[in-house]
């Protein structure tokens, strides 16, 4: 009897071990970029700007303990020459060919090529690759084959999909081809990975980035500014770079911005806060007969544009309902908290920000505002006039006070609050239809920011001013759809908003169905159980589905970037 009880105890412990092992460090393959860490710059100004490590030409190899000097002064691991050597040794074209069969796009700058003011400074300085330059730089630092430059390179094995391991392996080969570097691959589960790089424990590591808003500012300052770069594990501070970034952000003059971003790009390739690697496209797969799939580089997916052709065979059996599958999860459906791609997608379909994008393009147009904003002479005040007769889905009028309340709710410190607080200092409502934003500086890109989710008005009954609501039971917003039900982990139902100010959606109902596994989702679109499979189908599934007659596979050149980060303050003896 006692033995049987002990056996039961042991089996329970086995259960625990199996459960933890089954979902341990490398969990189920949620392929490709699931949630890009859309890091926004935090507002905290506590980090004292430190100087960039001076390029001391230290000849000693990092791991060779020269016991000549006792407790030697800790030396920075990195200097500009060493960083440049690594940048020169990387061959992006070969990398994307080998790992992604050419499906990804080499990135020669942190700013997406389709953006205004985008340049290719890395291509200009290093070409597609310059191994000779890399070797020369390393030899100039005193490294030899017998005593190479050695350091750890970190990556998360699963967060960006299973191809990450292949990517870092190819990088290692390319960089070690110099013969003067030894790069040790290290890996950590995502939760620990984030802890470690924020603490500055990783000298060189890989990350992904997806923008908060469509402006070069959001691709540069988070990594290159003295204030924000520590939050991304970069710990980079160069006063010249800082000044240029600030001036470019605060200018509304396109010529000035163009020149500044040109200079910033050149300095970036020279001083290397980070190294951009490649752009990873998203894939959307939809059944024949589904039309109106318009997703631009902003990655905004407007469900109201979708429609069925006459010969379509909808998964629901009816042309008034379309089913969209996704492997994303809901983190929060509160616009003053939500900070992930899927959450913003739902919020932008059930709500409309002050400005929005022409579907399928990156062109800003009025949204909840009746026109583009008025800008004060000094560029720090933006005034929006709301559309006349604007209401929530239940008919409750929308007023300027709703935007003041949204600003107050930013004070609840939701995940997205830092993004807004960095640029906005106050919001007032002089009358019912006028909303005035006071900015912390003259940011010319503020219109792009005002098209983001935190600038969506939310129903006061569903989103009280004093608390965040992550999982509302319904959303009666200002968008083309309203959310009528949510069964967490299963599906969400949206219905056309009868009080929408714009043209009614083509399809009355949308069901978003949640999958745990991308392979299952790809099978579901193949069999017609769903009409659209969107986020995140990896390249393997996308290629497979191209052979299936009943579906169309479309590549979205979304600006999802993979890049390498130097921890500029990393000290050698810290290893």
């Amino acid at each position: 009897m006692l033995r049987k009880s002990m056996t039961a105890l042991v089996s329970v412990i086995v259960l625990l071990s199996l459960a933890l092992t089954a979902c341990g460090p490398t969990e189920t393959p949620t392929a490709a970029p699931t949630e890009e860490p859309t890091e926004e710059p935090t507002e905290e100004p506590t980090e004292a700007p430190t100087e960039a490590p001076t390029p001391t030409a230290e000849p000693e190899a990092t791991e060779a303990p020269e016991e000549t000097e006792e407790a030697a002064e800790p030396q920075p691991l990195w200097n500009a020459e060493l960083r440049q050597a690594i940048a020169a040794a990387i061959d992006r074209e070969a990398l994307v060919d080998r790992v992604f069969e050419g499906r990804n796009i080499p990135a020669y700058h942190m700013v997406p090529p389709a953006y205004p003011y985008a340049t290719e400074p890395f291509l200009e300085k290093y070409g597609t690759r310059d191994l000779d330059m890399a070797i020369e730089l390393l030899e100039g630092q005193g490294y030899t084959e017998e005593e190479p430059f050695e350091f750890d390179f970190w990556y998360p094995p699963e967060h960006y999909g299973t191809t990450t391991a292949d990517v870092v392996q190819v990088l290692k080969e390319q960089i070690e081809e110099t013969g003067l570097i030894r790069m040790n691959l290290q890996t950590q589960n995502w939760a620990e990975y984030v802890d470690s790089f924020v603490a500055g424990e990783m000298p060189f590591f890989v990350l992904g980035w997806f923008p908060d808003f469509a402006d070069p500012e959001n691709w540069l300052s988070p990594f290159g500014s003295c204030l924000q770069s520590p939050d991304m594990g970069v710990f980079y501070c160069n006063e010249e770079m800082d000044a240029m970034l600030q001036e470019a952000a605060a200018s509304a003059d396109p010529d000035v911005r163009e020149e500044l971003y040109q200079d910033i790009g050149e300095l970036w390739a020279e001083d290397l806060p980070t190294i951009p690697l490649f752009w990873e496209p998203e894939f959307i797969v939809y059944r024949n007969g589904v039309e109106g799939v318009k997703i631009a580089s902003t990655l905004e997916f407007n469900y109201k544009e979708l429609s069925f052709s006459d010969d379509a065979q909808p998964a629901s059996g009816s042309t008034d309902t379309i089913i969209i599958g996704t492997t994303d999860e809901i983190h929060s459906l509160d616009a003053q908290d939500a900070y992930s791609v899927h959450d913003w997608e739902i919020l932008r379909n059930t709500g409309t920000a002050l400005l929005t994008y022409e579907p399928g393009t990156a062109d800003l147009i009025p949204g909840a505002a009746e026109s583009m904003p008025e800008v004060s002479d000094d560029g720090t005040t933006y005034t929006f006039t709301l559309r006349e007769g604007l209401t929530f889905a239940d008919g409750t009028p929308v007023t300027a006070e709703d935007y003041v309340r949204a600003w107050e709710r930013i004070g609840l410190e939701g995940d997205v609050s830092g993004l807004v607080q960095l640029y906005v200092s106050d919001v007032t409502a002089p009358d019912e239809r006028t909303v005035v934003y006071e900015l912390t500086d003259a940011y010319g890109f503020f219109p792009a920011l005002s098209a983001t989710a935190p600038f969506i008005a939310q129903h006061p009954d569903q989103y009280p001013v004093d608390e965040l609501v992550f999982f509302p039971e319904a959303i009666d917003g200002v968008g083309p759809y309203q959310m009528v039900s949510l069964t967490e982990g299963e599906q969400m139902e949206l219905q056309a908003n009868p009080n929408y100010f714009g043209e009614a959606p083509n399809i009355e109902n949308v069901i978003v169905r949640y999958f745990a596994d991308p392979t299952t989702m790809s099978n579901a679109v193949e069999t017609g159980e769903i009409d659209i499979a969107w986020r995140t189908l990896g390249p393997v599934e996308a290629v497979r589905l191209q052979e299936v007659d009943e579906v169309l596979v479309e590549k979205i050149n979304a600006p999802a970037l993979r890049y390498l980060v130097f921890q500029h303050e990393y000290m050698m003896t810290a290893e």
Partner: protein, 340 residues
Amino acid sequence: MSSSFRNFIITRLLMTIPMILILVTMVFFVMRILPGDPIRSQLGPKVSEEQAAQLRERMGLNRPLHIQYFDFLWRMVTLDFGNALTQGERPIREELAEKLPATIELAVPAITFTALAGIFGGAFAAKNRKKPVDYGLRVISVMVYAFPIFFLGLLFQIIFAVRIPLFPLAGRMDSMLMTTFEPITNFYFIDSILTGNWAALKSMLLHLVLPSFTLGLILTGPFLRLTRVNMLEMLQSDFITAGRARGLPEDRLVYKHALRNTFIPIITLLGLQFALLLAGAVLTETTFSWPGLGRYLVQRIELRDYNAVQSVIAVFALFVGGISVLVDILYAFIDPRIRY
């Protein structure tokens, strides 16, 4: 009820308490030893240390460990599991109320299939000892046990949902039917009967086939082999020989008389297998996008959500403990020799 049986039940129930206590204590401490914390895993690097500290305070993570531990034990006793620490911070009781029925609804047909297929398969193999069907069944039992669950799951999906579209691929019910379905208990089987929604009932049964078959098949192997071995022994025993001598049909001897006497070790195995069933449910739910507790556990472990993981493991432990107790009681009921 005899006093010895009553005493047995009481003793057995009391022994379950330390088992569950040890298990949840282990989980509590293991979660805190593992690197990574819920703040960082949810919010990434954006959070300043000051904000992170504020959040830790709000979540009670800055309290002394022993305070957190006793607070957690008390909450367990009062079935107040608190809120999840991250991603929505929903009350865990609500999550359990939604997801536990889904897992049970998957596990019950799975274990039923396991038991029936294993027992009757083993009996059949024993009856046909050393014939090709015996060898075949033994090989199959090892194979299905060795295959990873997600591999089998995907294989069945491709065969029975994609190539030959007999069953749906994933989920608990057809999307359109879900829009009008009213869950009451979150056991869709019960709820569809209670609401008279026969279309929903048919849909949920169809959706249940592939995942429960996958999960059940994996565990069939040990049952089959254990039954076979016990049956072989039983078929050598005197009372079977006597039955044969009296001219009883072989089928009746095997399936009625011999099989009944092999139930005792099989019931014990059933109790042990239940623990593996829950572990298997974790992977099956992911493969079939089944919104159960196993899938929830995976998500919450990734997020280092201590509260949620502790609570789910505690619930699993309660179930395993409970089943184990039931099995022992049943065992003792069947065989009076087995009592304290």
